[in-house]
């Protein structure tokens, strides 16, 4: 890696890794549930002409591992929003859980996210789409990341389809792009199927093709 910067999010230090330096527009990679940032620019981003960064979410990689859990996808959205603002705006590629977070931040900060690509990866499906009886689970302490509470809580967070499509609408209203969201995932859980069917969302098979449209 070419360098790591730590950004503060409340009591958490977020590791933002620079994978490639360039004067061009920034690309931000968001990993999947239980993953961490790649050490090098992935092949799908080889043709991206700008800088490439990757963020370790709270409880993952080199970022702080909190005590006692309490994760939500909205909290990770704030992780990503802090990184995007630090970069002065970015295009985002999210894998799995990172895809869902990319959607949230594309809707939450549409003027700063220049396209979000939603790709397959761990944690893509999330949990229920309706209220359920969730078990109260205590995790066994571990020495290092990923935080088991992140795995438990973010692997089952509620993702109602109409909640997800609200963020598509926000992205459409706030972005200058005609299609601010691109889905490349082959697995389409219910929330993502609704996203694909929403206006302003493009579907394409390859991440590289999606990035070419946002370059």
């Amino acid at each position: 890696m070419s360098g790591t910067t730590f950004l503060t999010h409340n009591r958490v230090e977020l590791a933002l890794h620079r994978l490639r330096a360039s004067d061009g527009p920034a690309l931000l990679l968001l990993h999947g549930l239980g993953e961490f940032s790649p050490a090098a620019v992935p092949s799908y981003a080889a043709d991206w002409t700008g800088s490439v960064y990757a963020l370790d979410f709270t409880g993952h990689g080199a970022s702080t591992m909190p005590l006692g859990g309490g994760y939500t996808a909205e909290l990770l959205m704030a992780d990503a929003a802090i990184a995007v603002r630090h970069l002065g705006g970015a295009t985002i590629v999210g894998r799995g859980l990172g895809a869902y977070v990319a959607l949230l931040v594309a809707g939450g900060r549409p003027e700063e996210v220049h396209g979000a690509v939603l790709a397959d990866g761990p944690g893509l499906s999330g949990g229920a789409t309706v209220p359920t009886s969730q078990p109260v689970v205590m995790a066994t302490p571990v020495d290092g990341p990923p935080d088991p509470y992140a795995i438990i809580e973010l692997g089952r967070d509620l993702r109602p389809p109409d909640y997800a499509t609200t963020f598509v609408r926000l992205a459409n209203e706030g972005s200058t792009l005609d299609e601010p969201i691109t889905v490349t995932a082959r697995f389409l859980p219910q929330w993502l199927r609704s996203v694909v069917e929403a206006p302003g969302v493009r579907y394409t098979e390859h991440i590289a093709d999606a990035l070419a449209a946002y370059a």
Binding site: G68, G70, L75, P131, V136, M138, P141, F167, L170
Partner: protein
């Protein structure tokens, strides 16, 4: 302005902390240590010592009342993260410590009432009886529940929440005098007496060189957004399998949940009872501690 005033209150007989997955949770108990357990669960942005005016009635009647400060509240630790799941896990840790796996009665106010419904849905074996004081779900957004539990998806709300998250690292509670802090809290608790609110400052705040501050974690805030719909808790309430008493006031105020008996009754548990009291607001147990304690003790029966 209504009762109580400080002479009516009683401090806990025992105070200690337990570890909940790395977060220190402060537990407060009133009554004899070997008496039957009765759990009390406070509302959002409150703390266990708000039961100082209420728990002593039950202790005097032979209960061992146990309550705890939710993470980020009162004397409990300020956590990295806050969520409904985390609050449920902390609650389970306290129940484990105080009552083991035995079923015990519980009284929950506001967010504490909602917590009791959700914990009873997930772990019904912990509960013998549930009393819910204005913490029953309606369609109205819940005023004192953490931000992720809400459903407000306006762009400005999201931007406001993100901006708050960006600023929390440097956040601090604003210092004031005891009277000043009480007056600020009075805006959210307009029906409670100045004397009571000033007392709360002395047990829910701390004094430093530049004045008093609430112990509440400054990274917590009202408002926000999330996928959860408040009314979804109705489905869990309808399925409760233990005796249930729901208490409502009829006076609206900022922290009130706005639920009406007509709205709640279709979802009350089988055999449950919903009662509404005239001329009282969200804090029924603080405005009328003796009346509510007597009604609840009648519902619970003798300590056992």
């Amino acid at each position: 302005m209504v009762a109580p005033t400080p002479p009516d209150v009683g401090s806990p007989d025992r105070e200690y902390s337990i570890d909940s997955n790395g977060v220190e949770i402060a537990v407060h108990e009133w009554g004899e240590p070997d008496a039957p357990v009765l759990m009390m669960i406070h509302g959002g942005f409150d703390f266990a010592r708000t039961f100082d005016c209420f728990a002593p009635y039950f202790a005097a009647a032979g209960w061992r009342v146990a309550s705890w400060d939710h993470r980020g509240h009162g004397d409990s630790g300020h956590a990295h993260l806050y969520s409904w799941d985390a609050d449920l896990r902390d609650a389970a840790a306290v129940f484990d410590h105080v009552a083991g796996r035995r079923a015990v009665p519980a009284i929950g106010h506001s967010k504490g009432g909602a917590l009791s419904i959700n914990l009873a849905d997930a772990q019904p074996y912990r509960f013998r009886t549930i009393v819910n004081i204005d913490g029953m779900p309606s369609k109205r957004p819940i005023p004192d529940v953490a931000e992720h539990e809400r459903t407000k998806m306006l762009a400005s709300e999201i931007e406001s929440w993100i901006a708050h998250r960006e600023a929390t690292a440097a956040a601090a509670r604003r210092p004031d005098t005891i009277v000043g802090l009480a007056e600020r809290r009075g805006k959210m608790n307009p029906r409670l007496s100045a004397e009571w609110l000033q007392y709360l400052v002395t047990v829910g705040g701390y004094e430093s060189d530049d004045g008093w501050r609430w112990k509440l974690d400054p990274s917590m805030r009202f408002g926000g957004f999330g996928p959860w719909r408040p009314e979804w808790a109705r489905y869990k309430m309808a399925g409760l399998g233990v005796p249930f008493l729901g208490l409502l006031g009829d006076q609206e105020e900022p922290m009130g949940w706005g639920a009406t008996p007509e709205e709640i009754r279709p979802w009350q548990p089988v055999g449950g009872v919903i009662e509404q009291y005239e001329g009282v607001g969200h804090f029924l147990h603080i405005e009328r501690p003796r009346e509510m304690a007597e009604r609840i003790m009648d519902f619970l029966g003798a300590p056992a």
